[in-house]
Amino acid sequence: MNEQPEQRSRRLEQALQACIQGRAEGIDAILEIEGPQLLGVARRILGRHDLAEEALQDAMVQVWRKCGQQHGAEGSARGWIYAVLKNRCLTILRDGRRLASLSPEELTRMQDARQDLVPDEGWQLLAGRGRLGECLDALDDPSRRAILLAHVAGYSHGEISARQGVPLGTAKSWIRRGLAALRECLS
C-alpha cells in the first residue's frame, strides 16, 4: 500500500500507454491505481456519491476514447486524467437539465457543501505540503480564494463574483493576476 509516489506515477503512465495501444486492461489499471482518489475528487465537487460515480464512469470513457491524443504529449498521465474528470464534473454541475431531477433541498445542500470547500482559515490543507502551498500563501487573499474556488469547488467566474460580492470583471482580474503570480512563483 505504501507505494512511492514516483512508482505510482510510473505505473499510471504505463496504464495510459496500454489504453493508447487499445488494451482495455489499461483502464482497469488506472482504476486500481487512482480510482478511489479520482472518485474522491468528483465527490468533493459534486457532493453526491451517485453524481460522482456517473462523472468518473463518463470520464473513464473519455480517457479511453481520447487517449490517442496523449501519445507523445507533454505533462503527466495523472494531470491529464484528472483534467478529463474535472471537465466532466463541471459539465454535470453546469447542466441545468441534469440537475433538474434533484429536489430543491438536495440542490441547496449541494451548493452549501461547495461553499464550505474553500475555508478562509485552513485552506492550506487543500494544497498539501510543498511548493504550491507556499506560492498560494504568497498571493493576496482575494486572488487565492478565487483560484481555489474555481479549481477545488468548480466555481464559475459568475459564481466567484457573486460569492465574493464583486463585479465580474474584478473577479476575473483577481484570477488573472493570481495565476500570473503563481506561475512566476512556481517556475
Partner: protein, 240 residues
Amino acid sequence: MTGFQDDLLGYADDYVLGLMTAAEAELFEALVARDPALGAHVARMRDRLLPLDLSAPAAPLPADFADRLRARLAEVPQDTAVPARVAAPAAANLPAPPAWRRLASTAAALVLGLALGLGGAMTRPEPEPQVVAVLLDDQGLPRAVIEDYGNERAQIRFVADVEVPPGRSIQAWTLPSAELGPTSLGVLDGPRPARLGGPDLPAPADAQLYEITLEPEGGSPTGRPTGPIIAKGLAAAQGT
C-alpha cells in the same frame, strides 16, 4: 510580452481552472491540438495545480464499478483521428513570442489554403479582410470560412455541407476578448453565404476565436452560445 501571448496564456489559465464554458473549452482544445507549445503550457499548469486534487479524501469504488465501465467501453470505439502533432519544442520554458505566433498561424495557414481551394467562385470584395478564420469541425475538416473586415462587417461562406435540423438556426460567434466573452455575429438563414453584422467590437485580431453553433430557431435565447458547435477556428491576420 506581446498581447497575443498574454491572451493565449490567459485562455490557458481559464481552461486549466475550468472557467471556460463548454463551447469555449472545445474551441480552446482545437487550438491546443494544433499547437504543441500551448499544449505543453497547459500540461505544465495542470501538473502544478494537481496537489489541489490529490487533497480530496479518497472514496472507495463500488465493487461492480470496473465491470460496469468495461461493459460501456466495449461499445465505445477509440478515436483514431489524432491531429498530426508537430514535435514539441524541447525547451522547458515558454517559447519566445515569435514561436507561439508561428505555430498558431502556420497551422491556420495550412487549413486556410485547403479551405480556400474548396471555396469556389466567390469573388473577393475590396477591401481585403483584416482576418480570415477557417472553421473546422470536430474531425478537423473545414466547414466554413469567416472573413472579418472590422467595422462590424464580416462575411461567412460554407465550404462543406452543414445539416440544420428543422426548427434550428446556425449562429455565428466570435470571442473578441475574455472580458467581452462570446459575442454573436448574427443568426443565419441556413448554410449559405451571408453578411454578418456584429455589434460594435474591437478590430478583429490575429488568433481571435470564431465559431458557428446550432441554436434554437431565431438564435440563442441567452445571448451566449448554447447549442452544439458545428465548427470553430482561429483567425489569421491578413496582410501587414
